[in-house]
Subunit: 346 residues, 2 copies
Amino acid sequence: MTERPNGHRPTLEDVARRAGVSKSTVSRVINGEPQVRTAVAERIRQAIAELGYLPNQAARSLVTRRSNAVAVVVTEPQHRLFVDPYFDCQLRGIRNELVRQGAQPVLLFIEEPNDYPRVRHFLGGGHVDGALLFSLRTDDPLPATVDHMGLPAVFGGRPAVASGHGYAYVDADNRGGAREAVRHLVSRGRRRIGTTTGPLNQASAIDSLDGYRDVLLEASAHLIAEGDFTRQGGAEATAALLDRCPDLDAIFAASDLMACGALHMLRARGQRAPEDVAVVGFDDLPTVAETTDPPLTTVHQGIEDMRRLMARLLFQRTSGRPTTGDSAPPLDSVITPTRLVVRQSA
Amino acid sequence: MTERPNGHRPTLEDVARRAGVSKSTVSRVINGEPQVRTAVAERIRQAIAELGYLPNQAARSLVTRRSNAVAVVVTEPQHRLFVDPYFDCQLRGIRNELVRQGAQPVLLFIEEPNDYPRVRHFLGGGHVDGALLFSLRTDDPLPATVDHMGLPAVFGGRPAVASGHGYAYVDADNRGGAREAVRHLVSRGRRRIGTTTGPLNQASAIDSLDGYRDVLLEASAHLIAEGDFTRQGGAEATAALLDRCPDLDAIFAASDLMACGALHMLRARGQRAPEDVAVVGFDDLPTVAETTDPPLTTVHQGIEDMRRLMARLLFQRTSGRPTTGDSAPPLDSVITPTRLVVRQSA
DNA sequence: TTGAAAGCGCTAACAC
DNA sequence: GTGTTAGCGCTTTCAA
């Protein structure tokens, strides 16, 4: 263990004493302020090293009102997360940007209702300068919570209570993307086009379905099967569709994973893709869309870039400004465009 | 937004004023101390609710020296993590136990060397009461770091510098488990037994290999292929083994995922399992071992329980005792037993 | 049962 | 350039 003058972790004061200067000077060196004589700065750095001194962040953020950490809150059963390449992609984008800003990303999971109060205290307690939040259900209390406590936050995907509030979100044009996907199917002569949706308590799933309906104005409810964005859920929803409409000739799946599940189910049912049933996915995850058999025609949304953008928006709202909830910050949400990538499945 | 007396987040003082009492009394109510008259307590709770007050954790931990948060540090490229059911299992165990203790789990990734200083500052800054660390390479600086700053920590897997330090670890009996696996193969009449190992800069991989060697005293180096615990790595290592020893009749893989990769590669090479080549895995991950074809014979290590145990050990070292680095805490590492689960692959 | 006062370790004016 | 001083928002003796 390190030498501890008294038995505690060394403090600024210990360093100051050891270097024969005042606390302020030490503080200046630590915070990289230039106006300290090089010789003195060197002496201080030495003392810091000898003592193994590490600034107490609690004390620091008590006065600066900053922590240099950003929470990444994922409202999703962990077990889903750890098997879905979509999240990997999201987190990579976020991490890269956050680290570039010098912020420490701190990942929090919400798996059950019990978790909310704890997370709320964590977020409200000044542990982080801001939060990036994902996968919210339409009835999620988190948007109201962060708004209420004035914590800078950016959502991945449009939150249910979208406007009039002090937070921003970044979302892909799910509706437009869905429209394009379905139009593509129509243009290829498909007439019985079903869709397997995400959980309909999530805005993105709803938006996607709306896009589908925009094109297929009078699509019967039989052609719509709710899923959950997973492979398994996609397979099951596809089975339901097939049972209800044996003459189905196309499926628009709300995620690549679901499209992948659809492909499997089709094969199991003896249907060929795209000959008998064409399939279009959504996401364009490289590890999925390019490796299915046949490769997926899908709607591309630059996930990694979107997430990077979220981190940038957050930075803009946290930087400079301490955690005071002053005059309403600019509401600068972004809807990013999507584009259809045609491969072999449709 | 909430009402903010001045434009800041409400403080204890604001609550006290509103309830017409002193800060101390409010503090008592917040911390659930009993000796406050019910009427007063009620009035205070009301004021708290009206103000939307949330305690400032920085201020609090500045005096209590506790944060009620525990860091879970994973030294692993995130992209590996998000595709490996092993991690899911680990995290579930940890989370459950931590939450039970009322601690907020906070996940940190280390993906590249640059991340170390930042994480070090985070850990040393008092943001967390302790840390649970995983997947350490033998040359990882983290054990020394946390030891040096006196942060209570428990490692998942034996760290390289094992003894004489103030930290504990929990590890499965990798060596014993490997021995049992290989003995099983021998008892089934297998004679050309190869092994696909984990990365040999990780203690668990080394221990496993040692167990293999314990049984096969003079195993030639040709029978050992280094992998990385992944499916892909397992397939590649298996291919290498097959190339070097065409008459191979058994493989001991250091993880279920690698065993799974082995099964695939064997099939691709026209070898039957277990008839031509028997395969034994390690981990006994339900989602993997039970679903391969054929189902895996593998070494069971109760991962979830092990991780829960880690969290308990940590609790024992953090609770009560503030972050002072006082007299060396009990070094109470645990090696948990393993057992062979025989299914069809060997 | 409640209040007053001190202080946790740090930064930020402000003097010198 | 460097030191002094006054808090940041809380908990915690100690008195009342």
